[in-house]
Symmetry: none
Subunit: 192 residues, 4 copies
DNA sequence: AATGAATGAGCGTTCATTCAT
DNA sequence: AATGAATGAACGCTCATTCAT
């Protein structure tokens, strides 16, 4: 038995996700959200007392940053890590960002981050996570790099920044950056 | 000796610069701009027929991307370039972005880029300029890197991205990146 | 027993009808309409998304052109027609214009016709209807007038124009025209 | 020697004439008039202290109702009158309205009449004049019609109304009326 | 006579939010 | 839980008019 129409709350969130991604939070009125969701205007405020709560709920419920389980040294924590192949490891990380979110939610995450604290926090968590993984991957690949802690951090931070903002940057500046090339670069910089 | 009161148009732009940087373009009403500038509401529209024209005027008049003079090989074109010291050259570039703009205008440039074409274009110009200079610096430092054109470009693009977005990224993700460390990293990656 | 207060939408239309008739559409602000209707400004736009929709609604809902029922020869189609008494027939038509509308709506109909298409269309319908009835009346009265089709049409058009614009003309030019006298004139012109 | 550019006052009136005819008095701002006239905004108010004065000046200076000279029986007063040819006389009147005004000024005259007293007065004068001439023409043609004074007046008023509003009516109702046919009709109505 | 900056009331419209039902 | 009428502050913008120069 297939579901009937999704329930109102879900439909409201669906509509908001599409609209926020398309035109931004400010430019999406609650009335329009209700219209797209095909629910009466008042119902939006029944579920979400303030407009901002819709955004918060979206970020809470529809983005998920996959965190490294257990301690930093837990076995199997980093599926993509392959000792001895640091560039490949980073490339795989690039292709499997530890972020579960629709493309629309990704756009929202970047677009609203500088105006809304809860969004910014989620983005910060994503950043930490990617940074952590990149650093771990580099550590695993270069067991000797211990003395170069500072350089390793800079490498991980650089990779993280480029990786997370890649899409965004291309839209703003028109310049495309290939994450694989950056991965290779980073690895060379730390190379034997 | 204090200046006489600046003329109204300047006061309007001053107020807008401060407000746009502080709360964003959308959230700064024309009435508030007029209030801060201490001019009547109508005067804003006397000088700037549409609100967006205030933003455009700010970007036009208060940001300036310093472009490389003459041809690509003009002497003195790249004041920060010192052959044989690529890392230092990049570091100097990091400290002297070819962008003349107040801190407030920089915030505006990054913040409004994805919503307003004219802002995006200015940012694109800045990006190109930094990329060009970074690439030139790396070429000068590594005359032998000719065969590695692709890697050189990736290096320049990576450095540019980190450099331009550094401030922004720190605000969004809480992670600080030291441009000097990135410069050193990049240079190492291109190796001897 | 006085009616309970009419609902808001009705009160808005009442206020607009009075104001549009009194000072014209352009000169009646939405704020003033709301004030007269004793409703908050925003409510006007709840019911009528654009100001023009108020005028359109008035014309749609508060003017009605009574069209000739059935086919052109339907019995009883033209209640005022009395064969053999064409002047009387026209006079009766003059006294019972096939237009159901308050005096205020009539003023609005004439006043806004040249600026607003929907008003003009309604007025055009009224004109056609009066013309049709006048022509029919003359045909019934002068069964022999078949050869004079052109003259008959001119007569009907003349009568229609004078009849419909009578009130308007008196206001503009100060000259009053007696529809009965025109009816008699028209009939004489078409001879025995 | 041809004139240099017309003087400012004239240019302002030219611009206002074109704009008022095109979009109406209310919808033509003084700033736009100044723009079209290529004069500074302030100058409009130098010549015409209030906006309405522009309209008044246009009507005063650019429309002229040619009045019957001398007394009502002055010889040669009615150039188009030809005793014995009343229909022809009326037709000639239709073709040579005693109104000197550009097509633009005619539009203004009809359009603004119901909102502006000075315009309405000028239109009233035109109406009287046409009425007078039509009545005189009919009197000359039908010397015996003395007993029918009332009918003669109705005939003249009908002809006047149709003649003056002909163009206007066609625009509003889509119905065209041929003044010659009306002339013939009127004359038949008074016929021998 | 000529100029354009200055003024402020008012306009149509939007919108988040409230609330009685 | 569900509804949509009601509310009023605020928004971007227009405009006739004033006035110092």
């Amino acid at each position: 038995m297939s579901e009937p129409t999704a329930d109102s709350r879900t439909r409201i969130l669906d509509a908001a996700e599409a609209l926020f991604a398309d035109r931004g939070y400010e430019a999406s009125s609650t009335a329009r959200i209700a219209g797209h969701a095909n629910v009466p205007k008042g119902l939006v405020f029944h579920y979400f007392p303030q407009k901002i709560d819709v955004l918060v709920a979206l970020v809470d419920e529809r983005t998920f940053v996959e965190e490294l389980p257990d301690g930093p040294d837990a076995p199997g924590a980093l599926v993509e890590a392959v000792p001895g192949d640091p560039a490949g490891t980073l490339s795989r990380l690039a292709r499997r960002l530890p972020l579960h979110a629709s493309p629309a939610m990704r756009r929202i995450l970047f677009r609203e981050a500088d105006t809304h604290k809860s969004v910014r926090e989620r983005l910060g968590r994503l950043n930490s996570e990617v940074f952590l993984r990149a650093r771990r991957a580099l550590e695993l690949a270069h067991p000797g790099a211990r003395g170069d802690q500072a350089r390793l951090e800079a490498a991980a931070a650089t990779f993280t920044a480029v990786l997370i903002y890649q899409e965004n940057l291309a839209g703003l500046t028109g310049q495309h950056i290939d994450p694989d090339a950056v991965a290779e670069l980073i690895v060379r910089a730390l190379g034997t």
